[in-house]
Every structure is written in C-alpha cells, then in structure tokens.
C-alpha cells in the first residue's frame, strides 16, 4: 500500500485556483520531491496532505487516512517541518525536544535526536542563540522526535548557505537510511536531484512532469554539441548524438583540423525544469 495517494485534488482561494487536479502516489520508504517555482501550489498541496487545508475536490489518503478527518492518533505517525521555523525562544535545544517528544506515545530519546540532527554542542543552548542553520536543524529534530513513519519537509533549506545546505542534505540522507517516507518541497533543483527518488514538477497548480530525476532528464529532447569553427561558435542540437558526432569528427580528421572547444552536453535537470516551467515568466 502506498504511503500517500492523491487523486485529482483541487483547491481554490477565491478566484485563484492554487491546485488544479493533482494526482500522485508516494510509496513507503520513498523520498518524493515536489518541485516548482514560488506560487506553483507546492505548499498548498503539502498542507492538504498535512491536514492544515481542506481540499475543494478529489481524494487524499495519507497512511490510509483522510487528513481532513484525521485525529491525534494519525498525528502520532507524521512529522512536519513547516516553512517558518517557529519554536520557543527561551527553551534549550534539549528542553524543546523533550517538550515536543512528550506529545507522542513512543518518542525517540532526546540525545539520539540531538545527534541525528547534529546539535550535540548546542544541546543545552537556548534556542534564541542558535544560528539560522542550527534552528532549521532543531526544526527537523522536532519533527523527528515522535519517531514518525512519514515526514513532510516544506522547503527545508531555503535561505541556507551552501555549507548548511550540504549538512542538511546529509541529515536527510540519514533519514532515508532509517526507512522513513519523506515528502519534500523545494525550488532548488540540485536538492531534488540529489535527495529525491522521484519528483513531480508543479506549474500553476498542475503536475507537468513526474518521475525519477534521471528519467526526467532522459526525456528531454536534445543533446547539445558545441564547438568553434573559424572563430565562430557552432551549436547543434540532436536526438542522435552518436551519429552526428561521428560525422563531425570524421570530417575534422579528414581535413586534419581540430574541433576547438568541443563540448557535448546532456541538459541538466535545471534546464528541463526551466523548459517545463518557462511560461511562468510571462
């Protein structure tokens, strides 16, 4: 059975259709990425799954339960990291984890969580004095302290410096190692590419592409070949790079000439993503 099953979900805010018929499944133990620019409907979709928003149409099951009707028992099994890392500023890291852990019937030991999110040195430090990255890690710790089966992460590394992002990625990878199901929203492509088993790209409330990151890149139209000839840049796009390259190099060899600055590129996920979402820039 899937951890999450979403069918034709719709949600409007007044005249704005934020989510327009979204369907997808997330398997147990999978890391699923919802990708899309700001305003594409990522957060609305995730907040419907978390039980914060009521959908206008469609059906949703999360761990076998409709989140719109879910209660305290269901919340024992999920962990949520919201975009804003709100926490009690006057408690220490350990006190915060102990307080939130107490809401669950089988919490993970505080020190285990402290180590998992890499805050051992800050264990007895007051939240007010944590750096932005440390707060975000405590945020994750608070979502993990109940030892949930399913974890929602809404833009977990937005606003991080590159070092803090890499640290957060390490932590998320270790969660996958624990067999947790993870739903992640992000507008960073490298993040989705590195962390997610599968991604769905949202644009204006609709899924425009879905699949493993490598497959999305594979489905992209063309390989790009660039080189310089007589000082001019030549760019070729082709679906059969082997043949085109062979012809090019054979001709150059026959003429005893070098293909200067030869580059053969597959499009990155970023380019696929920009192609998929480019209408957004209208």
């Amino acid at each position: 059975m899937s951890a999450i099953s979403v069918r034709d979900v719709r949600k409007s805010y007044g005249a704005l259709e934020a989510v327009r018929g979204v369907s997808f499944d997330v398997e147990r133990g999978e890391v699923f990425g919802l990708l899309g620019p700001n305003g594409a409907g990522k957060t609305t979709t995730v907040e419907i799954l978390e039980g914060y928003r009521k959908r206008d149409g469609g059906s949703v099951e999360v761990l076998g339960v409709d989140p719109a009707r879910a209660g305290s028992d269901w919340r024992q099994r999920i962990g949520v990291v919201l975009q804003s890392s709100a926490m009690y500023e006057t408690l220490t890291v350990a006190e915060s984890l102990r307080l939130f852990g107490g809401y669950y019937s089988t919490p993970r030991p505080v020190d285990e969580v402290v180590d998992l999110v890499g805050l051992r040195e800050q264990r007895d430090q007051v939240v007010r004095r944590l750096s932005g990255g440390q707060r975000r890690r405590l945020d994750l710790g608070l979502a993990l302290v109940g030892d949930p089966e399913l974890i929602f992460l809404d833009e977990p590394t937005t606003g991080f410096d590159p070092h803090a992002r890499r640290q957060a990625w390490e932590t998320l990878r270790s969660l996958r190692g624990l067999g947790k199901t993870i739903v992640l929203t992000t507008h960073y492509l490298d993040e989705a590419e590195r962390l997610a088993d599968r991604v769905a790209v949202l644009r204006r409330g609709e899924i425009v592409a879905a699949g493993p990151p490598a497959e999305l890149i594979g489905a992209a139209p063309a390989t790009e070949i660039r080189y310089r000839e007589n000082g001019r840049e030549v760019v070729l796009e082709t679906d059969s790079p082997t043949r085109v390259l062979n012809e090019l190099t054979a001709k150059a060899l026959a003429e005893n000439r070098e293909l200067e600055g030869l580059v053969v590129r597959r499009p990155s996920l970023e380019e696929v993503y920009l192609t998929l979402t480019e209408e957004e820039a209208e």
Partner: protein, 252 residues
C-alpha cells in the same frame, strides 16, 4: 491526562522563563501595592464608607493582577505564538486543543494564585491587613474573575493581526480599564462620564465582588449582579474565541 500533565510542566517552565511577562503581569501589581500602600495605606476613603486604604488597595491590586495575567498576559502570549507559527506547529503534533488550552489556562491561573498569595502576605506583613475570612467565597470569586478574563483574552486574540501590535493593543485596553474600573482609586469619587464607562466594564464588577467579600464580609452567593456581569463578559469573550480563534499566522 499524561499529555496534559506533560504540557502543564512545559507551560510552567515557559512561564518562568518569560521575564517580560513575569515583570509586567506578575510583579508589577505587587510593586504597586507596596508603593501605594506605603504612601497612603492608612488613609481612610470617605467615598467607600471610610475603609482603610491598604485593604482597599490590596483588593484593587488583586483585580489589576487578574486582568494583567489572565487577560493581558494570556492574549499577548497567544498572539505571539500564533503569529510566530508555534500554534501551527502544535497543530501538527498529537497534542489536542483541549489538552493545550487547559494546560495553558492552568498555568496562568497558577501564576495568578501565587500573585494573590503574595499580595495577601505583603498586606499582612507590612500594612496589618488581616487574611480574608470568607476563604471559599474569595477563591470562587477569584476563579470566576480569572476565567472570565481568560475568556476575554482569548477572544481578543482574534482581533489582533500581528505580534508587534499585540502589546500595544492589549496595553491600550487593560491599563485604562484598570484605572477606570477603580483598581487604584475609588470610582465613587470619579466624574460622571468616567463612572458611566466604569459601569459597563467587567473589572468594575469583579472589583466590587472581591471588595464586598474581602472588606465587607459578604459571601459570593449574595453577589448575584456582580457575579452575573463578570460571567457574562467571560462568556462573550469565549463566544468570540470559539467563532474566530485562529491557529495559523495572519496571512500577508
């Protein structure tokens, strides 16, 4: 029950860590009592049947403490927690709304109880105010007032849009209310227009109630009007709270 006790412990810890709250809502009424009673605690108040000022002020500061802690303190804490997103985070945990609200109210009621004991002890130690005789009536009256102000405080949070505005709005309401209702002076000596305002404020009736119990030897069951007005205000606050309380930050 286990989760309630756990949350109560957490809320008590949070309360003791909050210096601003502790000073403005918990300590300030005690400090005012010490200062004002030192200055004119032995004066007689003509308009109040010639009672001594010290016990009159003591009851006044109990009323001021109730509105400070249960109304102002609770409303500010709730708005800050809502706007920062803490309430939203709590909604994602198994902690239920009844467990959370009852633990939060218990904490503020406990703080008020300690404050009342403090005022009684200070009164007896420095200003020869005897401990009140009708303890049951007093406890019931204090519980009624504190709960009514809690209800009003929670109701008020729906009308405040931002954490920055919370202190300003709350102070603009409860400080004038405390003065006009007669926490510091006898409202009988006020000009007519101030008395007209005082006549609709809940604190006026709460102060009459506890002064009648503490100073004039009445029991709470003889105080129908005062009890009814205080309770009605509390219920009104609760209705607003039930209709429009929000767990999530104000958007935009």
């Amino acid at each position: 029950m286990r989760v309630f006790r756990h949350e109560l412990k957490g809320e008590l810890l949070l309360y003791t860590r909050s210096r601003e709250l502790a000073f403005f809502t918990f300590l300030l009424p005690l400090i005012f009592f010490l200062l004002l009673a030192s200055v004119y605690g032995n004066d007689r108040i003509k308009s109040e049947g010639n009672v001594r000022s010290a016990p009159f002020l003591q009851a006044g500061m109990i009323g001021y403490g109730a509105i400070s802690i249960a109304f102002a303190g609770l409303a500010i804490v709730l708005v800050i927690r809502r706007e920062s997103g803490i309430l939203k985070r709590l909604r994602a945990t198994p902690l239920t709304a009844p467990e959370y609200v009852s633990a939060l109210l218990s904490t503020f009621l406990a703080a008020f109880a300690v404050q009342v004991v403090g005022l009684l002890v200070l009164g007896r130690a420095f200003f020869s105010v005897p401990f009140p005789h009708h303890a049951v009536s007093l406890v019931l009256a204090l519980l009624l007032g504190a709960l009514a102000f809690c209800g009003l405080g929670i109701g008020l949070t729906s009308l405040i849009k931002s954490a920055e505005g919370a202190s300003a709005v709350v102070n603009a309401i409860y400080l004038p209310t405390a003065f006009i209702s007669g926490a510091f002076f006898s409202p009988n000596s006020y000009p007519a227009f101030l008395r007209a305002i005082a006549d609709v404020l809940p604190l006026t009736y709460f102060l009459r109630l506890i002064r009648n119990v503490m100073l004039h030897g009445h029991e709470i069951w003889s105080q129908g009007t005062n009890v009814a007005v205080v309770a009605a205000w509390g219920v009104a606050g609760l209705i607003v709270a039930l209709r429009s309380f929000r767990w999530e930050p104000t958007e935009g």
